[in-house]
């Protein structure tokens, strides 16, 4: 009995963090576009500036979407902007899920969260394909299949979430941060550096960065193996396999 009591107590404390996570997920595309738009200040990439992004999404979330909803109810078929559609298709359903989550007892967080995130992905896909042409007569438009499978995935995600509510199962697994972080840094560094710096420098540096992913790394050993591997790759890919790629830093070659 004591065990089940402890379980339910843990579940309620978990719930709030899950709810907060879902709310964040519900505005994740907006936040992502905001971060992306900061780059446009410095002239990287194309897109809207940060100010327009914030204003556009804020009005869509607060006023635009309810207005469009009312308009649709009264039979007004004015074209809605993509921000409003994002709020309608993606954010609102997830906010609704987050609110519902407050009142639920989650019996398997692994399944519940997994299902909801899949649902979010499917909703996002539905939004992304909302501007595509649908059925024309009996021939498929470009958007028909994505919408079909998107709808199916929403249903399946909901089903998985439901099993997380109805049956007992494992709680959320533990995530480590060190491995994923350094492996990702290493990958991103590789992608950024391969063109300007060439295989030799990039591969060696990436090797050492990803080696930081575990605390067991011994540096002398890692440097020796890294050097050998770099040499091997520098011979294998461009020479043996004949795949063209830059070998040395651009500024050294010129």
């Amino acid at each position: 009995m004591a065990d089940t009591m402890g379980h339910s107590a843990a579940a309620t404390t978990r719930n709030t963090s899950v709810v907060i996570a879902f709310c964040l997920l519900a505005v994740a595309p907006q936040i992502f576009e905001f971060i992306w738009s900061i780059g446009t200040i410095f002239g990287w990439g194309v897109g809207r500036g940060p100010a327009t992004v914030v204003i556009g999404h804020a009005t869509a979330l607060v006023a635009g979407a309810p207005g469009a909803l009312l308009g649709a109810l009264s039979g007004d078929t004015k074209k809605t902007s993509s921000d409003v559609l994002l709020a309608l298709i993606y954010s609102y359903p997830l906010f609704a899920v987050a609110i519902l989550t407050i009142f639920m007892t989650i019996r398997s967080a692994q399944d519940y969260v997994g299902g909801i995130v899949l649902m979010a992905l499917a909703l996002f896909a539905l939004w992304a394909s909302s501007d595509l042409q649908g059925m024309r007569g009996f021939s498929f438009g470009a958007g028909t299949a994505p919408r079909m499978f998107g709808g199916l995935l929403v249903a399946l995600g909901a089903g998985i979430a439901l099993t997380g509510l109805l049956t007992d199962g494992p709680a959320m697994a533990h995530y480590a941060w060190r491995g994923p972080l350094f492996v990702m840094i290493s990958i991103v560094f590789f992608a950024l550096a391969i063109r300007p710096l060439g295989v030799v420098v990039t591969a060696f540096a990436s090797f050492l960065i990803s080696a930081m992913g575990t605390h067991e790394t011994r540096w002398v050993e890692a440097i020796i193996v890294g050097a050998c591997l770099t040499l091997g790759c520098a011979l294998l890919f461009p020479y043996v396999l004949g795949l063209p790629m830059p070998m040395f830093p651009r500024f050294l070659v010129q």
């Binding site: 995935l153 994923p180 492996v183 090797f207 890919f237």
Partner: protein, 521 residues
Amino acid sequence: MFDLFHNLGLGFGVVFQISWWSPWWLYGLSLPISINILMCLIGALVGTLVGVLPGIGTVATVAMLLPITFGLPPVGALIMLAGIYYGAQYGGSTTSILVNIPGEATSVVTAIDGHAMAKQGRAGPALAIAAIGSFFAGCVATVLIAVLGAPLTKLALAFGPAEYFSLMVLGLIFAVVLAKGSVLKAIAMIVFGLLLSMVGSDIETGASRMAFNIPELADGLGFATVAMGVFGFAEIIRNLDAGAEMNRDLVQQKITGLMPTRKDLIDSAPAILRGTVLGSILGILPGGGAVIASFASYTLEKKIAKDPSRFGRGAIEGVAAPESANNAAAQTSFIPLLTLGIPPNAVMALMVGAMTIHGIVPGPQVMQKQPELVWGMIASMWIGNLMLIIINLPLVGIWVRLLRVPYRLMFPSIVIFCAIGIYSVNNAPVDVVLAGVFGLVGYWLIKHDFEPAPLLLGMVLGPLMEENLRRALLISRGDWTVFLTRPLSAVLLAIAAFLLVLTVLPFLRTKRDEVFTESES
């Protein structure tokens, strides 16, 4: 029958094709070499190597080595990739027996009795029986592919779009039924894969779908990119948080006497036979393929044994049957790919990727238009198996030494190798980042107990399914009943529905779980 010999003869002719190699350092002299034999050998060796090393699965390796085959002629490339696949089945058994770490999912059950045998000082016979069983299974499977290839191709040519669509639905349902874990989750993964396959421009209208005006996404998500992310990077990240230093209780004593005794041979012969039959059947079915075959054959052996308590304590049948089964299944899973153009599992899905890169559209027409490709590959499998049995047994010592390479050195090497590999596919740095992102996605999927293999299958079949669905509905003028009114299609869909109902029934669900829990008991 004559056709069969003719075709196999053609295949062996392709494999043994001699070309003259005159490198500059021989000053005009030429050496006769056979590129395809060489590819077969390299593939088999690399496959064994990968099978031995725990931490990188077959799918990740085939994905990793895809770029390597770009410079090769199509036949050589496919022969090499096939070699990696069945080589890995061999290598996996070696580590299972000697170290109790299955290098591959397919040899998980081999570890139970194989390692018990090794502890009793009978590692040699266990390895030998595993190799003999695999070789026998490989031979049978090669003949089976040759026999079934032509008739199935004829059948496939009679298929219209509606039949193709239904067949693919059946294939995906099989993948769900034979996959491990929740049916709902597996279906969700397939649909997720289907959605991912739709990123990029639409085949018919050319409209850009879900690409957000990002030029790199306009061509769609690269198949190798996603595979490498979900299977390669995700595996590495997952292994890292499990603690890089894995527990390895290596059997230290020297392996003496490879030859199994007379009794061993008599005991294992029927087990090998049963394993081969079961593996061949399960391999053709889409889905788990080699993995389910090894589990199922182990369960079968245990069920029909006179004294089931011997299992787990070094019963030689427990090594012979699953090893034959997984090898047979690994090879027969080529049948749906070569005849129907439908990949039955994730590795075959990668083979589709390899074929498309070389400009070959997999399907029944390949067997007719490029017979030397198909039959060359089939013949190479037999030769590859022969090579494996000759090479592997003497090399066991080297493979075991490789196991001592610590994971802390292995994982950065794999990361770099994968990164260079992905970059070289399109010379696109964005692909590398995308693979990294899919690595995180894969890590998340593992944490939530989703299987990544159905996702990959969905992603490969996505474009094919959509195309056939569209075509079928266009021909029938929007009439959805076409899938039920055409007899072949209706039968296929009925089987799919029947299978799905079966898995949901409680009785079969427990049976299905039983097969997979064997290794944990």
